[in-house]
Amino acid sequence: MDLRFDLIWSYIPLLLQGTKLTIQLTVFAVAIGTVIGLFVSLLRISNFKPVSWVAKIYVDFFRGTPLLVQILLFYYGVPQLLGLDSMSRHVAGIAALGLNSGAYVAEIFRSGILSVHKGQMEAARSLGMTYAQAMRYVVLPQAFKVSIPPLGNEFIAMLKDSSLVSVISLPDLMHTGRMVVNRAYRSFETFILVALLYLIMTTTISQLVSYLERVFGKDDQSQ
């Protein structure tokens, strides 16, 4: 067994660049996913059936089909549908990851909202607050708090799953790793390094999440 990390040494800047893109894709996807997820979770709990139904179809589609298929659908399928020549890889990648994340985040927020005792909404409404005010000032802050750990897991999952965008040749960490292997012919060294870089990112996120949990979880508890 000979390990020759020296042979991939010169590719480290390239790998770091891939890392940067992976972080960017993930952050964008989760940011978009959080906004969509919040919105969809509110539709999902609507009493008006057609609305909650549409939300459910969205959630079921993105959770029930492979992310790989979704990425290809956005990169190849959507331009065809819209009659475009092509689509930016970045846009397609972020759109697929963001919409996928939105579906998972919607379910996280939905169960967060449902975990808030219904007496909270009633107390707020009995004071004359509108449904929207009661949601915003009373229910969502509590729902958000219980959602922090699963959101952290979603963030980590998204970071790992973002490696699938390498299929449309977006130069993320995964794709860059494959490029380096093709040039340096050192599979083990390269992929172990790639794995290590992912691991550093995921552990950083877990640390961050447990920090947030401590900050938000300290002053009170749901009844």
Binding site: A123, S126, L127, G128, Q133, Q142, D220
Partner: protein, 240 residues
């Protein structure tokens, strides 16, 4: 002040209120008693439309609140409610709990709302707990904060749904004292309660509910000393 005409409420096939009619005058204190499942909570919750009436009319200050066209949020500002399980907002301090609705609903500036909140907390004897979160308060203290929170909207009517039945016995008194003081100040109140001593002391009238109807109503003296309906008699004999 409150007039109810032939109110019914169904949950699916279950008819929980079967035609309630009554009239409650300004400054009147009504205590509702009756066995479990008789529809007391449901009736109270209809009075601020936390439950939608199935049929019938509820007229509060001349406004028919069962009319789908009225703005129920405006009505609710006039009708405060206190719940059995307090339902304080756990992510807010006592002061923030009380100040929230004046700020968001009445659009009062924060300092004004907090000043009001402070004076109300003082009134329920909890000024020193203003900056505590609910989990740090005893049940009796939480319920008193909840009363202050409802009062912060300056309601004309207060509804209480078994305000002391989730409390340890030694805390019942402090909460009842606060409710009594409201009664003496002339607040119109409807209180569901199993505290018969309290009912006798503060109420102007008692409603006995059973199976979705007000079976008997009268002054505390009439109800406690001389109940007419056999069901009232047997209920009272069980709990007194």
């Amino acid at each position: 002040m409150i007039r109810v005409n032939n109110l019914t409420k169904n949950f699916g096939n279950l008819q929980v209120l079967r035609g309630i009619s009554c009239h409650i005058a300004p400054k009147e204190v009504v205590v509702i008693i009756g066995p479990s499942g008789s529809g007391k909570s449901t009736f109270l919750r209809c009075l601020n439309q936390l439950e939608k009436a199935t049929s019938g009319e509820i007229i509060i200050n001349g406004v028919n609140i069962t009319d789908p066209k009225i703005n129920i949020n405006l009505v609710r500002q006039e009708v405060g409610m206190v719940f059995q399980r307090f339902n304080l907002f756990p992510h807010m301090t006592a002061l923030e709990n009380v100040a929230l609705a004046p700020m968001k609903v009445r659009k009062q500036p924060r300092d004004e709302a907090e000043e009001l909140a402070m004076s109300l907390l003082q009134r329920v004897g909890l000024a020193d707990k203003a900056h505590q979160y609910p989990e740090k308060l005893s049940g009796g203290q939480q319920q008193r904060v909840a009363i202050a929170r409802a009062l912060a909207m300056r309601p004309k009517i207060m509804l209480f749904d078994e305000p002391t039945s989730a409390l340890d016995p030694e805390m019942v008194g402090e909460v009842l004292e606060v409710i009594k003081s409201l009664a003496y100040e002339g607040m119109t109140m409807v209180v569901v309660s199993h505290e018969m001593g309290f009912a006798r002391e503060v109420s102007d009238r008692i409603f006995f509910m059973d199976e979705g109807l007000i079976l008997e109503e009268g002054t505390p003296n009439e109800i406690f000393s001389n109940p007419k309906n056999p069901r009232t008699k047997s209920f009272l004999s069980k709990i007194l």
